[in-house]
């Protein structure tokens, strides 16, 4: 049996296109310091640091934990660097939790970041390799055909993606840290926005952000002594499958289904829509909400879009299972941190500490991240109670 562990401190930066006022270290440090302050701790209280980010090429700093040691108060301590593509923020939190759940440490700091303004993610993802077809059209180009296939199978109306785009931006307007602040966004505006990778429109895509997210995770004894309510980690799961293999189900990847089943089992969840109070799910293109609603078992296959259209996932429409109350990846996307933000926002909800985007009475929440060609999954369930 794993030891109990809980999130006792959460720190984030404001997400924005370019944090021109800080160095890379300064950005990472800001989130880490905020997490320590939130936990009422100082640097000496931390036993180890676990760092995550997406490819080093985004900032052009190889193995940045080496340079970030001093900013993260890690001189003389263990430092681990995780990289699992877009799911990395989630995986990093899970690896950090394992430092406590294994009984090896009592309190660790975990941080994930991306300073995308230092480069251009599209560039780093599209850098041509010899002998390959130079047709890499970025993440949108990869996911658009999969979305098209989802629409074909489910017969979903064309405005589902538009509705998600509006819903998550309205959620984001409640979250002062969100990059996009669009309280006035309309369906018409999204519909009329430029079609980038048909069927994905500009406003149905995530922004490119600078930002960092950090958490302090502690053992049971120390978590109970903290100044604020802990978010107890009730289940952790990761799954991977290859990017391309014959017969691969790309619309609803098996790795996502298995990962969800695993984390639900640990947390004692049999009906995720009923048992969970809210979810922070990695939705970088709006159509991924209905797709993940099905993949994660919130709706039967082919019917995820109905929940979206019924307002079930909307805070503003009083939905029963709000998805991405923080605004989600569609409102802020510092790639390497995006997964950890989902995990941290889930924790904020069950701590009752989510401000204007608090889901009333949230006791159990899902944090979700995915990466690569929708092949790497990381999920956790956090709760207000230990079990």
């Amino acid at each position: 049996m794993a030891n109990l562990a809980a999130v006792v401190g959460i720190g984030q930066t404001k997400y924005t296109t370019k944090r021109g006022d800080v160095s890379i270290a300064g950005l990472v440090r800001e989130a880490a310091q905020n997490a320590l302050d939130d936990a009422g701790l100082n640097w000496n209280d931390i036993d180890a640091v676990i760092l995550g980010k997406a490819p080093d090429m985004f900032e052009g700093v190889i193995m940045p934990e080496i340079y970030l040691t001093d900013a993260l108060g890690c001189n003389g301590k263990p430092m681990l660097r995780v990289h699992t593509a877009g799911s990395v923020g989630g995986s990093t939190a899970i690896v950090a939790a394992s430092h406590i759940q294994s009984g090896t440490f009592r309190r660790v700091l975990t941080v994930a970041f991306e300073k995308q303004s230092e480069s251009n993610a599209m560039w780093a993802l599209s850098s041509p390799q010899p002998f390959s077809t130079h047709l890499n059209a970025g993440a949108g180009g990869y996911f658009a055909p999969i979305i098209r296939e989802y629409i074909r199978r489910s017969n979903a109306p064309r405005d589902v993606g538009i509705k998600v785009a509006v819903k998550d931006r309205l959620h984001g307007a409640r979250n002062p840290l969100a990059h996009l602040q669009r309280p006035d966004i309309t369906m018409k505006e999204v519909e009329e926005s430029f079609m980038l990778w048909d069927p994905i429109r500009f406003l149905e895509s995530c922004p490119s952000s600078d930002g960092a997210c950090a958490m302090v995770i502690a053992c049971e004894e120390l978590a109970e002594q903290g100044p604020k309510a802990p978010a107890w980690i009730r289940g952790v799961a990761m799954r991977s499958e290859p990017t391309m293999y014959a017969g691969r189900e790309e619309v609803s990847p098996q790795a996502g289904k298995d990962c969800a089943a695993d984390v639900y089992k640990q947390a004692g969840i049999s009906d995720p829509r009923k048992d969970l109070d809210c979810a922070e799910v990695y939705v970088p293109f709006s159509w991924y909400e209905p797709m993940w609603l099905e993949n994660l078992g919130f709706a039967p296959e082919g019917e995820g879009w109905k929940l979206t259209m019924d307002g079930a996932t909307s805070l503003d429409e009083g939905g029963d299972i709000p998805w991405n109350p923080s605004g989600g990846v569609l409102s802020s996307n510092p790639i390497g941190a995006s997964g950890m933000i989902r995990f941290a926002e889930a924790a904020r909800q069950v701590r009752g500490d989510a401000g204007d985007h608090q889901v009333e009475g949230a006791r159990l929440a899902l944090g979700h991240a995915y990466g690569g060609g929708a092949q790497f999954f990381a999920m956790w369930v956090v709760g207000a109670e230990k079990a």
């Binding site: 006022d21 090429m57 001093d70």
Partner: protein, 148 residues
């Protein structure tokens, strides 16, 4: 299985990153543009050049800037007989750890010397400023040996 040909192709991973510096790194680079070298005082009182943003021992954010000399002493050095293309000099040169006067912690930069035998630990060196200083580490176009 048929034998594979070996297919090679050169490629360049080239990109210009636009880095924001934050106040500490920015202050140092601004100093370089003005041909001034600035360090920062660590929690134990030592002056560190170039300035670190965070103290390695206490993890505290540092902020007390200290002007130091552009002249100092070689603490360690390595002789590059065959410079690499990326290196700052195409002539043989020395990488060095240099403790500037007024600083306690040596910095890594390079030293211009004709021959390996011209340099030793304890050699005095002075920054040679680039013709145009722009606020970049290469504003110091290497250090030159100072006659004793």
């Amino acid at each position: 299985m048929p034998e594979s040909e070996i297919l090679n192709q050169a490629f360049e991973l080239g990109y210009t990153y636009t880095r924001s510096t934050g106040p500490v790194v920015g202050r140092f680079l601004t100093g370089l543009r003005d041909q001034q070298i600035v360090g920062i005082r660590a929690s134990d009182g030592r002056v560190v050049v170039p300035p670190m943003e965070y103290d390695p021992d206490t993890a505290e954010a540092l902020s007390e800037f200290v002007d130091v000399s552009d002249e100092g002493e070689v603490v360690s050095w390595a002789w590059v007989k065959h410079p690499r293309e990326a290196h700052p000099s195409s002539q043989p040169f020395a990488w060095a750890m240099i403790r500037l006067d007024g600083a306690d912690v040596p910095m890594v930069h390079w030293v211009r010397a004709k021959d390996e035998s011209d340099i030793r630990c304890g050699s005095r060196v002075r920054a040679r400023w680039a013709d145009e200083t722009v606020g970049f580490i290469t504003d110091i176009a290497g250090f030159e040996l100072v006659g004793e």
